[in-house]
Symmetry: C2
Subunit: 158 residues, 2 copies
């Protein structure tokens, strides 16, 4: 990579990730319309279908999102009747998010989504698996670099 080309859009790994994320979310939109969910809402449902009754912090860690993102999103899921939010009696700081019957019923419909997405990708499942594993490694490097720089105190409250 020539230093002169480093600022070229097409040479940038990060733009590839950024634009791929948008392309993927646009592919989900028509499929998720049948469930009445947005993509981030669908991700929360995936997390809850795997393990119901998690705290906001647990969901946030799993999805790598902040409470400031999840709080309004979870309120919408509750308003739609797919989830319930109640304080943990053991620890009143925590909020336990649980699926309703309607939330569980949605899982059936969601079964149709992964095959639809696979079709849009134009790739085989093993190809996507390989790419996913490589991507997760780089993602975790970025996350670790950020955590380290925050630990050192380059940013933050000090």
């Amino acid at each position: 990579m020539d230093a002169n080309d480093a600022l070229k859009l097409e040479s940038q790994f990060c733009f590839a990730v950024y634009s791929a994320a948008h392309a993927v979310m646009r592919a989900y939109r028509p499929l998720l319309e049948a469930l009445g969910l947005t993509y981030p809402q669908y991700l929360v449902m995936l997390v809850l279908w795997e393990a119901d009754g998690q705290t906001v912090g647990g969901i946030a860690e799993r999805l790598m999102l902040e409470s400031s993102t999840l709080t309004p999103l979870l309120k919408r899921l509750e308003a739609m009747g797919f989830a319930e939010r109640r304080r943990n009696p053991e620890n009143e700081r925590q909020l336990i998010v649980s699926l309703t019957a309607a939330g569980w019923a949605l899982q059936e419909k969601a079964m149709a989504i992964p095959p639809g997405i696979l079709a849009c990708s134009g790739r085989t499942a093993p190809e996507l698996t390989n790419l996913r594993e490589a991507l997760v490694e780089v993602r975790d490097s970025f996350a670790a670099a950020r955590a380290e720089s925050r630990r050192i105190g380059e940013v933050g409250e000090g």
Copy 2:
């Protein structure tokens, strides 16, 4: 991939892309603070540094974004003094976006960003190039599938 596992978060390619995009943007934030730009604003600057004086539509196509996203963003770049917006005299429907002297001056500072990002990635440049190329191919498959389904008229104004 077992059908039972298709709805598992960790098995999903799309969540890897989604979460990687967030991790990447979080890595840019401290670096871009020195320039006073957000990541999407930085992308627009990259496009204009490569070719100044593009239309909104041209920038949108390059970044795969909608005019409804770019219009307010470009107004902010103009308000910050990095870009100018003027109608094309040849075609008054079009808006030409041009860099100011301050916008060009920013390119110098931006030179420090790609090396900083490379360091956060924990990968070599060739490794990122390989991953980028694979990712762009999948992204374009998703985009093509969407364009095709819209052409057929599965969605849209019909």
